[in-house]
């Protein structure tokens, strides 16, 4: 009897409590991000399409055409074409990645010896054809932007640290990171 009375009284209590919560939210700041006008501030380790950022010192990418990325790629979607120059050094002639089959695993970025491949922050990759999903070297320059101007050593150490970090975070729950991203963006928005 008493428990029934408790239950009966709980119903209006919970309804009123819910109503109070909604009326509070009426005056709270809105969380909507008006997408094409406003954008998320993407976190440092965001994984967009792999790209080849321009090194400001040389004016081109850092790729040495070793082909490690093409070999490690689980989907075999990276094509590296090179020729041996007069100074007997390999020179990159074409670099292609088929983003339609890319799964953004980041192995190519991890394996890249000079740290030329970087996961970019590009995510608007919609096209109207399969051919449009194949990015060549120039597209990858465009996606990557430029490396920040820093001294060689510090950048390398940073790179190695970063790759280790990404390894660690890969082992941990990946959804955790996306949640962090969202809260970060929301913070930046408000």
């Amino acid at each position: 009897m008493l428990s029934l009375l408790k239950e009966v009284l709980y119903a209006p209590y919970s309804v009123v409590k819910g109503l109070i919560i909604t009326i509070i939210h009426l005056f709270r700041p809105k969380v909507t991000l008006q997408y094409p006008d406003e954008r998320w501030d993407l976190p440092e380790n965001y994984r967009g399409i792999p790209s080849l950022p321009i090194d400001p010192k040389t004016g081109t990418d850092k790729c040495i055409a070793c082909g490690a990325c093409a070999r490690i790629c689980p989907e075999q979607i990276i094509t590296v074409e090179s020729e041996t120059g007069e100074d007997k050094k390999r020179k990159l002639t074409e670099f292609k990645i088929d983003a339609s089959r890319c799964m953004w695993c980041g192995l190519c970025v991890e394996v890249c010896p000079p740290g030329a491949l970087v996961m970019s922050k590009e995510y608007e990759l919609a096209t109207d054809s399969r051919e449009g999903m194949v990015y060549d070297r120039e597209d990858m320059h465009r996606h990557g932007g430029t490396f920040a101007e820093e001294s060689e050593e510090s950048e390398e150490s940073e790179e190695s640290e970063e790759s280790e970090e990404s390894k660690e975070s890969k082992e941990s729950d990946p959804t955790d990171r996306t949640d962090n991203n969202l809260t970060e963006g929301a913070k930046a928005e408000s």
């Binding site: 309804v15 819910g18 109503l19 919560i21 909604t22 009326i23 939210h25 009426l26 005056f27 709270r28 700041p29 809105k30 969380v31 909507t32 008006q34």
Partner: protein, 360 residues
């Protein structure tokens, strides 16, 4: 047929069109816009804000879109019933406004059986809904129609029981007389009278009315997650718009009736807020465009209408508030609430209200 009859009919159609347009613009528009915006705010969203300033033109844009959509009738549907059903749902929703007093003289027809008329007319919509569900020849819409029939028929009972309390307190069935009975200030409103019996009746009315108007938490007949959209799955274009508008009209009717029966209708909450507001007098007559008009009477009407409409909009806000808060109930919970909770409480409430009137 003589020409006088035709002219009379044409005049009536014209007046009806003007009134319907008026209701659509003045009543429906703020309600649809308010629903979308306020509910969005309560859910920490922005809501429509692209078409026009603050999204104000979103509703006209949607209406325009629906107007020039193709009018699809499914191949297996019963064409005639399919076409008549939205009209049968739409018309009763607006017929209620015939007896609702918007002001002292602003009532289309003050029937002496006003409330009986209201409950009779609102029940017609059920037939339209069942027709729509059956004629669509779609299992989801049929299921929605069955649910609607069960829900609306069972909630009619507590709704009428809640109606009865103001009737007993006022001693009349006419809505206008019920409003006049609540004259004075807030204390005379039925919701605050009779030792809280009025408030209890209002609570029952609100719960049953939410179910009658298919508003969340009682919108199981169009439960999107179970029935796609309920009885109106197969409807598109203007026919869908009729269902949509009928639903909003029903929600506004719910608010307007609540204001009329429990919150003093067009009466101001305090006598100094009624016409003349704060004792500010306006000239008795005014000459406008060469014609003498009774300006004071007009102002009085405007003040009464403003009170009625303001209260109704506050009520609509409460409905939206509830809608944005509560989750949908299950079918069995819905039926339990009607038959095991609302009807017994309503009956006891009515008996107590009778004692209150007898002992007074």
């Amino acid at each position: 047929m003589d020409s006088g009859f035709i002219i009379t009919v044409a005049k009536m159609v014209g007046v009806a069109a003007v009134i319907l347009t008026f209701i659509l613009i003045v009543v429906m528009y703020p309600m649809i816009y308010g629903l979308r915006r306020v509910m969005a705010f309560m859910q920490s969203r922005i809501g429509p804000n692209r078409v026009g300033p603050q999204g104000l033109l979103q509703t006209p844009a949607d209406a325009l879109k629906l107007l020039h959509k193709e009018d699809i009738i499914p191949r297996g549907a019963d064409r005639w019933i399919f076409t008549i059903a939205p009209i049968l749902v739409f018309v009763p929703a607006y017929l209620v406004y015939v007896v609702i007093p918007f002001g002292k003289d602003l009532v289309a027809s003050d029937l002496n059986i006003g409330i009986v008329y209201v409950s009779a007319v609102t029940s017609i919509a059920i037939i339209g809904i069942v027709m729509a569900g059956w004629a669509s020849n779609n299992k989801w819409s049929l299921l929605g129609a069955f649910r609607a029939a069960a829900q609306l028929v069972s909630y009619e009972v507590p709704l009428v029981l809640a109606f009865c309390v103001p009737i007993v307190l006022a001693g009349t069935l006419s809505l206008q007389s019920i409003v006049i009975e609540q004259a004075g200030d807030v204390r005379n409103w039925f919701v605050f009278r009779a030792w809280g019996l009025g408030a209890l009746a209002f609570g029952i009315y609100l719960a049953a009315g939410l179910a009658e108007a298919n508003l969340t938490p009682f919108d199981i007949m169009e439960a999107e997650s179970e029935l796609v959209a309920g009885f109106n799955v197969e409807y598109s274009g203007m026919k869908f718009a009729l269902f949509f508008l009928a639903e909003f009209a029903a929600a506004f009717t719910l608010s307007a009736l609540a204001v009329t029966l429990f919150f003093g209708g067009w009466q101001a909450p305090f006598s100094f807020l009624a016409y003349p507001v704060f004792g500010i007098k306006v000239p008795e007559t005014l000459t406008l465009l060469g014609r003498t008009v009774p300006f004071a009477a007009w102002t009085e009407h405007a003040v009464q209408f403003a009170w009625f409409f303001g209260k109704s909009l506050a009520m609509v806000f409460a409905l939206i508030w509830v809608r944005a808060t509560l989750p949908r109930v299950r079918v069995d919970q819905l039926m339990n609430l009607a038959w095991k909770v609302l009807i017994p409480i309503g009956l006891v409430n009515l008996v107590l209200a009778g004692f209150y009137v007898a002992l007074k």
